[in-house]
């Protein structure tokens, strides 16, 4: 396999084919808990991305020095280090968002998507592929968080990109789009059942798209043979 196609494969896996949220269904706890609005989803998505890239990078670097017996504790230590860094960064620069996300930032340590990538990919591959895998998996996870956050925010609050200033500072004050008046939102979308519903619908949508792609590809690959085919239905086949 050439390097180019390998990197393409890693990107496709992370973003679509093996998406951590929609296919592996890993890290569902933060996915379901904090995707009430776009800004929460983006905040958690970025934090997860940062941790994932860092942990994949370091795990890949030390993969030959760590024995199999102690690898899991070592991976968890590395992940916890990056989570602590992220937490301190968020406390320093986006304190209000940090307070909203609360326990779910420290809980990134237990996000199985991150440990899963360290175990399944970074501990077996070189520095560059591992880092790229972290970026792509993180982006795939973040993108799903964003879409779910957007849908739930529109349905539940009737707004989009509200309070983006929590993440981007005063520049983002005017980014909020109001689609319909407040107090009329479908509250169930913001509540936990809404998270399950929206995630389920997104997975269904992905399956539909995948099915159509597969069907189109099959149709292109195998042109239907013309003419009649006779099938023997009696006697023995010699």
């Amino acid at each position: 396999m050439t390097d180019q196609s390998q990197y393409g494969e890693i990107a496709r896996n992370g973003l679509w084919n093996n998406n951590p949220a929609l296919v592996q269904l890993l890290g569902l706890c933060p996915l379901l808990a904090v995707t009430g609005t776009v800004v929460n989803a983006l905040g958690l998505g970025l934090a997860t991305l940062l941790v994932l890239v860092g942990s994949n990078l370091v795990v890949s670097l030390i993969r030959r020095q760590v024995s199999d017996a102690v690898r899991i504790p070592v991976f968890v230590m590395i992940i916890a280090t990056f989570v602590t860094c992220t937490e301190l960064l968020m406390k320093a620069y986006t304190y209000e968002l940090y307070q909203i996300l609360g326990i779910f930032i420290p809980l990134i340590v237990t996000n199985c998507a991150i440990l899963g990538r360290a175990e399944a990919f970074a501990s077996k591959n070189g520095l560059l592929p591992s880092t790229l895998d972290g970026v792509m998996m993180g982006l795939g996870f973040g993108a799903v968080l964003l879409v779910i956050g957007g849908i739930r925010e529109i349905l539940g609050h009737g707004t989009l990109f509200a309070n983006m200033s929590l993440l981007f500072g005063p520049v983002a004050e005017g980014w909020q789009l109001t689609l319909f008046g407040d107090g009329q939102g479908l509250l169930v979308a913001v509540l936990p059942p809404g998270a399950f519903l929206v995630t389920g619908l997104l997975i269904a949508l992905k399956n539909v798209i995948d099915g159509q792609i597969a069907r189109r590809r099959a149709a292109r690959r195998a042109p239907v043979a013309r003419g009649s085919k006779r099938v023997r239905t009696t006697g023995t086949i010699s």
Partner: protein
């Protein structure tokens, strides 16, 4: 045993889905009449609107799934869901509430799980709960019974009711004058009073014959419809009787002599809120409930207990929908442990046991 002789033909047509659903629709009439008498035209408008939406959704989903539309519409199951939802939603609820609840019930709760016969949850109750947790204010705005309205205020007529439902009647000014607490609500928000004091203070209880004014007739109406369905053998007695007995037993145990921390009188629990509608029209749902008779006893009794627990110690005044949905979750497990003995087998099997 006496064999009655009847002339031929002796064959009985089995109850098919269509006939069962028609019986259920017919059986809601006494309750609907009582609702309409006490609370005005609202419930009727709810039902008509819900039926239209349900049939449209059902037809739409069937067309998308490439199934014969007319064939599936003829089993009337969508109409039953719509009708039960229309009865459960508060009268004079805004039209979008009815549309949303019905659409959710049919499309998400019924068809996304595979359609009639595959839905793990009762569609009408899913629609009700989604509406209840999404729009708590609109869903807890109930009408005061006709005869308890203040002097000079009357329930709106049919035309006026339609205008209110579709929002042409100004902003809630008419509604504000005629809405009030339901009996369960009224009871819940009088903590610190003895049961006798609440009874004396609240006209909903003091004007009532046995339990709570207006609501007792609605519940008796549903009870009558349910007994008729039982007579028609649409369902067995196990689930509803188990539910009502468990609820009554809980209410008796925690009545507490009518003290200020009492859970409320037994008759109030049996004849207020959605008790009878739930017992005979929701708990008996053949799809989402337990399937064996023993299983139905457990299923119904657990619902009865849950209703009491949520009503008395929970945040919501009524709890039929929540209790039913919770037990819908548990129905497969109940089935697993209560599989009836197969004829010719020595002891009953568990559903998950390996076949030899």
């Amino acid at each position: 045993m006496v064999f009655t002789r009847a002339s031929s033909p002796h064959g009985h047509a089995p109850l098919d889905t269509r006939r069962v659903m028609q019986y259920v629709l017919l059986a809601t009439i006494p309750g609907l009449v009582a609702l309409t008498w006490n609370f005005g035209w609202g419930s009727l408008i709810n039902i008509v609107l819900a039926c239209l939406v349900a049939v449209a959704c059902e037809a739409g989903v069937m067309a998308i799934r490439r199934r014969p539309v007319i064939f599936y519409l003829r089993d009337h199951s969508a109409l039953v869901t719509a009708c039960l939802l229309g009865l459960a939603l508060p009268p004079l609820a805004p039209w979008w509430l009815v549309v949303l609840a019905t659409g959710f019930a049919i499309v998400v709760a019924k068809h996304l799980y595979g359609g009639l016969g595959y839905n793990p949850f009762n569609p009408a109750m899913v629609g009700y709960v989604v509406a209840l947790i999404s729009f708590p204010v609109a869903m807890t705005t109930w009408i005061t019974p006709r005869d308890l309205l203040p002097e000079g205020v009357t329930l709106p007529g049919l035309i006026e009711s339609v205008r209110i439902v579709f929002g042409f009647a100004g902003t809630g000014s008419v509604l504000d004058g005629i809405t009030g607490a339901t009996p369960l609500d009224a009871f819940k928000h009088h903590s610190g009073l003895l049961v006798e004091q609440i009874r004396a203070r609240e006209p909903l209880f003091s004007e009532a014959e046995v339990a709570s004014y207006g609501w007792e007739w609605v519940n008796l109406g549903f009870l009558a419809g349910g007994v008729w369905l039982l007579y028609k053998r649409v369902f067995t007695w196990h689930a509803p009787i188990a539910m009502l007995s468990a609820l009554a037993l809980m209410a008796m145990l925690f009545y507490d002599g009518g003290s200020s921390s009492s859970g409320g009188p037994v008759l109030m629990h049996l004849l207020s809120g959605a008790t009878m509608l739930g017992a005979f029209f929701i708990v008996t749902d053949p799809v989402s409930s337990a399937t064996s008779n023993r299983g139905r006893l457990v299923f119904g009794a657990a619902i009865g207990i849950l209703i009491y627990v949520i009503r008395v110690w929970g945040g919501y005044p009524d709890a039929v929908a929540f209790a039913v949905l919770l037990m819908n979750f548990a129905a497969p497990m109940i089935d697993n442990y209560s599989l009836p003995r197969t004829y010719g087998q020595k002891k009953s099997r568990r559903a998950t046991e390996k076949m030899e």
